[in-house]
Symmetry: C2
Subunit: 212 residues, 2 copies
């Protein structure tokens, strides 16, 4: 295979991809071609993994019963989270749309198989958490690939993860990494919703880069 | 800002980027323009973060003393890891080059600031680990961006993370996520070294995708 050369034009487009990626909460109700969903999962497996352990497991949540159970899980956790804020933060929190569970045509739960023997432990004796990191890199790979096909992804983390395993009848040793809503976005933006809505500001470089 | 359209040509190039990304262990000794390194860090901050918490902290490890301390840390951990294998796996492990700490012109340690108040806890009440996940997504973003500039990145996880904090004189509450070696690669490949060397095989889709 000939080694690719990435030019300035590609780099500019890649930067656009990073900027317009976004965490999407509002979806159009257009279907997503099932072959495209499988293609995204195949692309996600190009992510790096410690010791080439490939510990990512993808669960397409299709049944109405499973989806309803996940929605109930989110709604309970979201109410509890709202109760933890007060004043302006509580008002702002209540206004934010934090999940697209009702509209998204595709629900994909990504798990870590904590018991995998694949990779024979290479590279994770001193930092065993790198196994988990590998599954997270697969989520990010899928997210960027989805955006390149015009799809939006919303990562829902306001869930009780143990209950997700029960709802989906999955082994306890599978750890929920991300519950993803996938579909064509209603709106597109080059900046985070939480920045646009005044929840948080962008940190300056001086706050995040130091030298030793 | 006008919304970008990603075409089939971009998607093919993006797939090449994913395939040729690689975890690089052998570097040429060409310098990396310091402005390019800072640019990669700026691109990394386009990664998603839970509640827009931006918990990533980047430490450019430049002094000979700090680098020597990290190398000693790796060598000790790597010897201990080798001792844990036996037979063929031990022989194969001993042959693998698992770090490019001597040759890489740029050493970048990425940390999670576990104490950040940025984001006000949004989205991480039930899955607090998503704060850590955010820093990991920044590492992956930087990795892909580096490859688009022809640079290779090697993620060294065979380190005692607490000792890295001590060597770099960093607060205990900063958690080491990744120690990255960055430079121009000596070789380029479209498949993982551990696959080419027979350490592990690629898992079939049927092993990683299920439906519910």
């Amino acid at each position: 295979m000939e080694k690719p050369v990435f030019d300035q034009n590609f780099r500019m487009q890649f930067e656009e991809l990073l900027k317009w990626r976004r965490d999407v909460r509002s979806f159009r109700n257009d279907e997503v071609d099932p072959q495209l969903t499988e293609r995204l999962i195949a692309l996600a497996t190009l992510a790096p993994s410690v010791g080439y352990s490939q510990p990512w497991r993808f669960v397409l949540v299709e049944s109405a019963e499973c989806r309803e159970s996940i929605r109930a899980n989110f709604e309970l956790c979201n109410r509890q989270a709202l109760d933890a804020y007060s004043g302006e933060k509580a008002q702002l929190y209540a206004k934010l749309k934090l999940a697209g569970l009702r509209d998204a045509p595709v629900h994909l739960a990504v798990f870590l198989n904590q018991q995998t023997e694949c990779g024979s432990g290479l590279g994770r004796m001193t930092m065993p958490e790198t196994l988990e990191y590998s599954a997270i890199l697969a989520v990010h790979t899928l997210w960027l690939a989805a955006r390149s096909y015009g799809l939006g992804v919303g990562w829902v983390s306001i869930l009780d993860p143990a209950k997700v395993n029960t709802s989906l009848n999955l082994p306890e040793e599978w750890k929920l990494i991300a519950y993803l809503c996938i579909g064509y976005p209603q709106e597109e933006h080059p900046s985070p919703e939480l920045l646009r809505n005044g929840w948080e500001v962008k940190l300056p470089a001086s706050d995040i880069l130091i030298r030793r």
